[in-house]
């Protein structure tokens, strides 16, 4: 790692023997269970008397429900109950807008919308029974194109029109001109999070009309709020515990099985397990918004950007989910990390009868990055400049203002990140035809080429992404930290509701507790709603926000312990330091043991912690301090393309990223590798194919994600320019790699082939045609 000037607050306790503090890379505490198959994912849960729930989904894109006959399903032996919209006691659900019924009510608005539920003693019996539910539909005209949805004559998905949000940015000269003008239209297909562990959970009813739900999710408290809404129950009757989560990437921010399992459990009085299979998983969560983008850049002959215009349409599908916030990101960040004095952006989120779209890693920035990076290449070529140099020329620096007028008040190393990736050694030239290795060629062991027709290309991309929730959202986390002596050893228990989805937050919480309290043994409490909200595991925010809350709770515990010691020993509070198992005076003498001070008591503090506020943007000009922090990354991709067959082999995918402070350097690298793979997947292969609103490829046979053969080795450079506003200087890590990797791959393919390639994923026929 390259260490840059940092301003990390000095750790209060410097016990040399302490292992696994911040900056170390301790192993994750759940690793042993996971490698043995003993870790309990949502789909592994089991309870006495448990029965199975399944969902019946709409086969239509837009239709009126004329009637539902559950009789034959209910009469099936082994079936306990069948539920429809009539059985839902409460209201609609939704992350931002409560616009989605728990079960379709009178109308279905997309292919796959839940219509009815069945509980039975075997999952296959439940599935067979669901097929016996007779639903009579009357099909309605549908709108399945984002731009068409805005036309006045388009079918309405909801009362109130198809426009979900229109974000405007107007900055500088409204009629800018420039000597060099480049423009493009770009299309981004619908990507799926494709987490490996399908949606799953177990709902266990109690004797008092309440419920315990164990579920794989990203935000327990947002789930709880919506479940309460749908069931008409108070929060104390709806208790959630995080089950093991098999990846998330945004796809678990909305509800899936949650209310359905609870409804079935409350009705039958039995624990209900629900596990989607892969096909249902494709219908069971929101996807990344497909986008249609129209961009124009004006620059002078030296490549300096003078103006930018962008029109972006995000297809939100049938329900809002987080579309409004995705529009917020796409609009405010959609021109990339560049200084542009004159700006006009119109960013729209629309309802259609396509599958609902919402959060996915990169959240609105991914789609835009394909467009702005393709256009930067075009501009470079037009003015005859190097593609890296033109980005460095226009790249933001600390102290600049972005297109919403917000001051970039910590590091913005755009030029440096690009330089780092450009300076990394390039992979070896392709081996000659007699010593080639099939695996390193496009087409691999399909043996489609021995090198003939194969051309190499190099592409670059850079991005920036907001960290945390924006535009005035009350973004906080809560942490409870307890210090006590157990079995003669100081022990810390840290309790948050922050979802561990695989990223390693539980390790980070342990590291922070060790660092702040000097205690080796840190127990991570199961995540549940018995403690306050931690906010969502999304927006690359948990190390920052829940990390901040844990740090603050540790500080509160430390202060309490020292107060106790000061009273007990009759010493000045300011002269005492907590150092693991000891209380030490500022001169370094041990004045008491923690055991003496605590006895059998525990010091237990809960802190709600917020990052500095953000603000809504002006509705007419889009100006405002919308975001709390920015994270930057750059990628360089090297590809070999078989131009005859249109097959692509990514040879290298190298990156540099500023993470502020790497709390767990190994985990940071893991995030960068995994995030880069997802961005590459969107560039090359990942798309939910939706034809007239119908999903055509809901399986891992037809929806492809990168395998170990697709993923090249990566060189990774991590910068640590501390953000003075953030705990320990951290910057969110998870999302930037997914944003800049795909556009770099696309750029490399364009470079290799000379084709415009204005759509991702880039399919073989795009390369070979015309």
């Amino acid at each position: 790692m390259t260490s840059a000037p940092t301003k990390v607050p000095a750790a209060p306790s410097e016990t040399a023997a302490l292992r696994g503090r911040i900056g170390d890379s301790p192993l994750r505490p759940d690793g042993t269970l996971k490698v043995q198959g003993e870790f309990a994912f949502g789909s592994d849960l089991w309870a006495d008397e448990m029965i199975w729930g399944v969902t019946l989904r709409s086969p239509h894109v837009h239709a009126r429900i004329v009637s539902i006959d559950v009789g034959p399903a209910l009469a099936t032996s082994g079936v306990y109950t069948v539920l429809t919209a009539e059985d839902v006691p409460g209201g609609n659900v939704g992350l931002d807008h409560a616009d989605q019924p728990v079960l379709a009510t009178g109308v279905v608005r997309y292919h796959g919308e839940p219509v009815a539920l069945v509980a039975a003693d075997h999952p296959e019996i439940a599935r067979q029974a669901a097929k016996k539910i007779r639903v009579v539909y009357e099909e309605l005209p549908a709108v399945t194109d984002g731009r068409r949805a805005l036309e006045p004559a388009a079918p309405q998905v909801h009362d109130g029109g198809n426009l979900l949000r229109h974000l405007k940015i107007r900055r500088g000269n409204p009629d800018p001109v420039a000597p060099v003008v480049v423009s493009l239209d770009f299309e981004v297909g619908m990507q799926d999070q494709a987490f490996l562990g399908p949606e799953s959970g177990l709902a266990v009813p109690d004797d008092a009309g309440g419920i315990d739900l164990y579920v794989a999710t990203q935000w327990l408290h947002a789930d709880q709020r919506q479940i309460c809404q749908a069931l008409g129950l108070p929060p104390e009757k709806v208790r959630l515990t995080l089950a093991g989560v098999g990846g998330a990437f945004g796809g678990r921010e909305d509800l899936s099985i949650h209310v359905h399992a609870c409804l079935l459990a409350l009705r039958t009085g039995k624990p209900i397990k629900m596990v989607y299979n892969r096909e249902e998983s494709f219908f069971g969560h929101v996807h990344r918004h497909p986008a249609s983008l129209r961009y124009e850049f004006g620059a002078d002959h030296d490549g300096l950007l003078h103006y930018a215009k962008a029109e972006i349409v995000f297809d939100g599908g049938a329900y809002a989910s987080s579309t409004a916030a995705v529009v917020g990101n796409g609009g405010t960040l959609g021109l990339g990390p560049y200084n542009i004095p004159n700006v006009q952006v119109d960013c729209y989120g629309v309802y259609t009868n396509n599958p609902p779209c919402g959060a996915m890693r990169g959240f609105g920035c991914v789609q835009a990055a394909f467009a702005h990076e393709a256009l930067m290449d075009e501009l470079a070529d037009r003015v005859g400049m190097d593609r890296v140099a033109i980005r460095q020329l226009n790249g933001m620096r600390e102290g600049d203002r972005n297109i919403t007028g917000q001051l970039i008040d910590s590091a913005a190393p755009v030029a440096e990140l690009l330089q780092l990736v450009q300076d990394m050694p390039l992979p070896a030239e392709r081996l000659s035809e007699d010593e080639f290795d099939l695996l390193s060629l496009p087409g691999g062991v399909s043996n489609t080429t021995h090198g003939e027709g194969v051309v190499r290309g190099i592409g670059y991309a850079v991005t920036y992404k907001n960290v945390g929730f924006s535009e005035g959202f009350d973004d906080y986390s809560t942490a409870r930290v307890r210090l006590e002596i157990t079995a003669d050893e100081p022990t810390v228990t840290v309790h948050t509701a922050a979802a561990e989805v695989g990223q390693g937050l539980i390790t980070v919480e342990q590291q922070i507790c060790r660092t702040e309290l000097g205690v080796q043994r840190v127990v991570v409490h199961p995540r549940d709603t018995q403690v306050g909200s931690a906010g969502s595991t999304s927006a690359s925010r948990q190390t920052y926000v829940t990390g901040g809350a844990v740090k603050a709770a540790c500080e509160a515990v430390r202060a309490k312990v020292l107060e106790r010691a000061s009273t007990m020993l009759d010493l000045e509070l300011s002269e005492l330091v907590l150092d693991g198992a000891q209380i030490v005076s500022i001169t370094g003498d041990v004045v008491a043991s923690l055991q003496d001070v605590l006895g059998t008591d525990a010091v237990d503090e809960t802190v709600k912690w917020s990052h500095r506020p953000t603000y809504p943007i002006d509705p007419e000009t889009g100006q405002g301090d919308a975001h709390v922090q920015y994270a930057f990354s750059a990628h360089r991709a090297v590809v070999d393309v078989d131009t005859e067959l249109g097959l692509v082999k990514v040879i290298a995918l190298d990156t540099a990223q500023d993470v502020g402070k790497a709390i767990n350097p190994d985990a940071v690298v893991g995030q960068i590798q995994g995030g880069s793979a997802q961005g590459m997947g969107l560039a090359l292969m990942e798309e939910i194919v939706v034809t007239d609103g119908r999903v055509r490829n809901p399986s891992f046979t037809d929806y492809l994600i990168p395998t170990i053969l697709d993923m090249p080795p990566m060189k990774i450079e991590v910068l640590e320019y501390a953000d003075p506003h953030a705990p320990y200087g951290v910057r969110g890590v998870g999302e930037p790699p997914t944003i800049s990797s795909g556009p770099a791959v696309a750029a490399a393919i364009r470079r290799a082939t000379g084709k415009a390639l204005r759509r991702v994923p880039i399919r073989p026929e795009h390369i070979t045609e015309g």
Partner: protein
């Protein structure tokens, strides 16, 4: 139907198995062995990989009725009283585990590779693991883990064969 088979060295018998159930379902839901995972249930992801008579198979593609009187080893059967198998330990040590949903399948597949090939080359590792999807890691640390496990196994006195069933 009734199924009698050997799982992780122990004789197991389960009743009332419906003919349509897969080996994966029987392991997970009837034998209390949920370590093998169900990411696709159509042979595309490798998360359900087990040994069947010493051969790696996707247990989601094996009908329960096919396993009568055969020998199955699942991820739960790889560690023993002495602790984790070196492949498992290497996955932990290299940070090859994030969410861990792919991990049981990858551990079993890597175990199979190292049983066949003492020092696999990178292309051999990639080819052997090509049927196992991981969405979290980008695979780089998984490669590290397999390389490390190969080295460690070569260093153990019995060699790799000594630790493999």
């Amino acid at each position: 139907m009734r199924i009698t088979t050997t799982v992780n060295g122990a004789r197991r018998e389960v009743d009332d198995v419906w003919e349509g159930e897969s080996l994966l379902y029987v392991l997970r839901e009837r034998m209390g062995l949920p370590g093998s995972k169900n990411a696709c249930e159509q042979g595309e992801c490798g998360s359900c990989t087990v040994y069947l008579d010493g051969i790696l198979v996707c247990s989601c593609l094996v009908a329960a009725g096919q396993v009568c009187d055969r020998d199955i080893v699942t991820v739960e059967g790889l560690s023993d009283q002495q602790g984790l198998h070196p492949v498992q330990q290497a996955f932990i040590d290299c940070g090859a585990v994030q969410c861990g949903f792919c991990t049981p399948g990858l551990v079993v597949t890597a175990h199979g590779l190292l049983a066949r090939t003492e020092h696999p080359t990178d292309p051999e590792i990639r080819e052997a693991l090509a049927g196992n999807l991981c969405r979290c890691t980008g695979y780089e640390k998984i490669l590290d883990a397999v390389r490390l496990a190969a080295d460690r196994l070569a260093d153990t006195p019995a060699g790799s064969a000594g630790r493999l069933r």
